[in-house]
Amino acid sequence: MASTQLIDRRKNGRHKSAENRQRFIKRYKEQIKRAIADSIAERSITDTVSGGEVRIPRRDIAEPEFHFGSGGWRHGVHPGNREFVAGDTIKRPEGGGEGSGSEASDQGEGEDDFTFTLTRDEFMELFFEDLALPNLHKTRIQSMMEEEPVRAGHTHDGVPTNLDILRSLTGALARRTALRGPLRFEKAELEDRLAASRDEEERAQIRAEIEVLEKRISAVPFLDEFDLRYRNRVTRPKPCTQAVMFCLMDVSGSMDEQRKDIAKRFFMLLYHFLHCTYEHIQVVFIRHHTTAQEVDEQEFFQSRDTGGTLVSSALDLMDKIIASRYPREDWNIYAAQASDGDNWPMDSARCRELLTAKVLPAVQYYAYVQIVAAQEQQLWAEYDSLRAAHPHFVMQKIAERSEIYPVFRQLMRKTTS
C-alpha cells in the first residue's frame, strides 16, 4: 500500500455547487417569485431583510421518470414479524401506501414542499428584479459623507475608557523584568558572598549594599505611566448610506383591517426595496385621523381609531420630525402614504400646499397609494395636480391584495431614459 495518498482538499473550492444552485434558482424563478410574494404576508416590515425561506411545491420541481403506479400485485418481504402465520390476511393500510414507500416518491400525494433558504442578495434580486430605485440622486449620495471611527493601533495617551489594560500590564511586566533582573542578579551574588564571608566588617558592608539594592528593586514601579497603552481610533470618512422611511397611514374608522393589511404590505415592499440600497434604514410610523401621532410598528398596524380625517396633520408632523431629527443633508428620505382617500374637504388643498412647500423638496421619493375608492375623492384630485411638477411624487390605486405587487412594480419601474 505504498502508493496510498492522503490529500488535504479543504483548501480547494467549497462552492462547486454554486453554479448549479444558481441554475436551479434561475429555472424556477417564477415559482420562487410567487413563493416570495406569498411569504411577505407573514413578516414584519423590518423583520426579514435577511433573505429567507422559500417554499415551492415539490411537484413543480420533480424530475419525472418511468415508475410504477399503484395497482397490480406484488410480493413484499418485511422484518419484525411477531404474530403472523402463513395464510393470515391483513387489512390494506389506508392510502395504499404499502410497499410504495421510498420506491416511488414522486408518484403519490407527497405534497410536502421543497423548502430552502435564499440569501439576502438572491432574495432581493428576485424580488425587485427589473425595478429601480426611483429618483435616486446618485451624486448626492456620493457627496454625502459621514465620519466613521476606525481602530488604528495603540497610542501612549488617551482617555481612561480607551485604556487597553491587558496590553498596558503586559508592557509593565516586561519593563519590571528588564529593570529588576540585573539588580536581582547583583543581590544574589552579594548574598552568596555574605554567606561565604567570615569577616564581620565585610559582612556589614555587604549587608549595606544589599539594602541599597533592595531599595532600588522596590523602587521599580509596578505600573509606570510609560506602560499605559490606549486604543487608538481615527476617523475616516465614509459614504452615507442611511435612509429614513416615513410611513403615513390613515387610521380613521374607514380603514379596516383589510385595508391596513394592504397598506402594510405596500410599506413592507418599499422597506425591502430601500434596503437594497441602504445599509441602515430607520422607519418612522405616523398614523393619523384628525391628529397625527408617531407610534411604533405594533401600534401602527394594530390599533384602531375612529373619527374624522385630517391628512395634513400627518404631513405637518412629518415635516417637524424631519426638521428635528433627520437633517436633509444627512438622510435620504422616502415617504409612503396610504389612505382610503377620505379627507375633510377643506383639508385636501392644505395637503397640497404642505407637500409642495415643505415635504416634497425634502424627500427623494413620495409614494401615495389609495386603497379602494369607489368614487373619486377630493384628495386624489388635489394630489393628482402635483404630479406634473414633481416627478418624484407618484400615486396609484390599489383595490385588492393581488394588486399590491403590480402597483408597486409600476411605481418603481425602471425608467429607461
Partner: protein, 503 residues
Amino acid sequence: MTRTPISTESDWDFETLERFEQELGRLAAECRLDTYPNQLEIISSEQMMDAYAFTGLPVNYTHWSFGKHFIATEQNYRQGQMGLAYEMVINSNPCISYLMEENTLTMQALVIAHAAFGHNSFFKGNYLFRTWTNAEDIVDYMVFARDYVTECERRHGERAVEQVLDACHALMNYGVDSCRRPVHRSAASERERQQAREAEFQARFNDLWRTLPKEEQKDGRQAPPRFPAEPQENLLYFIEKQAPHLDTWQRELVRIVRKVAQYFFPQRQTKVMNEGWATFWHYTLLNRLFDEGLVTPGFMLEFLESHTSVTFQPGFEDRRYRGINPYALGFAMMRDIQRICEAPDEEDRRWFPDIAGSDWVGTLDFAMRNFKDESFIAQYLSPKLIRQFRLFAILDDDTRDEIEVTAIHDDAGYAEVRRRLAQQYAMTHYTPDIQVWRADLRGDRSLTLRHTRHHRRPLGGTTDEVLRHAALLWGRDVKLEEVSEAGEVLHTRTVKAALDDAA
C-alpha cells in the same frame, strides 16, 4: 500480543491517519483483500455536500438538478435534520475516499476501513463493476463531459443544452443493455471518437436518402420488417444512434448521460452486498486492531456505537421503518456466511453443503465477486437469518381486499421468503420494463415504446411527462404501448413532438 495504541486522542492528525491506513492495509492484505490504490481526501462538510450533490462523482457537468440536490442537502443539514454520511467513496482508480474534517479519529478509522478497503475491494472485485464501470477512466471522462457540456452551452445556449439533458435524465434508467457487455474506452479515445464522429457526419452528408426510388414502398405490399428487429432496452443508446433529428452535439450529450447511467448501473443492483461487504470489513478489521492492542477500549466503544446504529433494523411496525436496511441485511449475511464456514450446525450443512466448513475468506471472496443482490440473497440467505430478522412475505394484490401473508420464518416458509426477498432486489421489481419496439424510419418516423407489464403493475403518473421528454429527443411522435404479460396491447399513449422545441 499487546502493543501501544496508535493514538489515545479523539482528534485526528495526518500522521495518525497514515498509521491507521498502514495498519488496516496490513490486516486487509492478511485477509487477501484486493484493492485499488487508495487516495484519501480530507474535506470540509461543505465539500461533502458538494459531493452529495454530484451524486457521488468528483466532477460533473453543470445542471440545475444537481443544484436542487445541493439545496436540499444543505437545508436538511443546516436544520440538523440529518447528519452527513461519514463517508463517500468513488469507484475510481485510485479509489477516492472522502474523510470529513469534523469526524473524530475513530470515525476516520472506521471510514478508512469501510470505504478504502471495504468498498474499494468490492469495486475492484465484483463482476458487475468489472463489467460496467471503468475505474481507470471515470474521473477523466467526467472532466471531458463537463468541458463538453460547457462548450455546448457556449455554442448553443444554456437553454438548449438543458432541454436535452433534462430529457436524457428522464430516461436515465434506460441507458444500459443489461445483457450486452460494453467495450471499454479510455477518456482520450472518447474524445477522439467524438471528433471523428463529427467529421464523419460532415463528410457523409449528402442527399442520398432523397434520391431513393419511391416505388419501393408501393411495390412491396407486405409490411416492411420491423425496425429494430429485436426490442431494445437501451433507450438512450437507440436514441443516440437512430433519432432522426438530433444534431451531433445533442447525440453526444445523450451519450454522456448514458455513460453516467452505465457507471451507476451496478450500484443500484449491489446495494445490500456492497454495504454489507464494506460493513463486514470495517467490523472485522477494527476488531483485529483491538485484538492487537492498537486501539483503546474507548475507541472501540465509539466505533461500536456507530456501527450498531448503522446496522440497526427496525421492525415493520416501527415508526422508523423504511424498508430493509441494506447495511443491516448485508452485514448480517456476510457474518452469517463466515459463521457457516467456521462453525456450521446441522441445519447449515443441510442448506449450504458447499460452503459449510470451508475457508471463510475464500468463500466470502467468491460471493463478493460473482453475485448481485438478487442472486446473492437467493444463494446465501440462511434460515437462521430469516428467523433472526423475523422476515415474512406478503402478497398485495389489488383484486383482493386484503393483503395475504404467504410465508413466515418456519420450515415451510424459508424458501419462499428467500425467493421473494431476492425478487425484491430484481430490476423488474423497481424499474418498469420499457423497450424500443418499433421505429418507423420509412413512414412517419414515429418511435414506439413498449411497456410489458410485470405483475399487472401499470405505469405511474409522470409517464406522459417522460414521453414528452422522449419526444423532444426523438423529434417525432413517440408512442407507448402498454402490453400485458401475455403480450396483448392494452392501450397506447401518443405524445406529439413539439417540433419548435426540438431545435
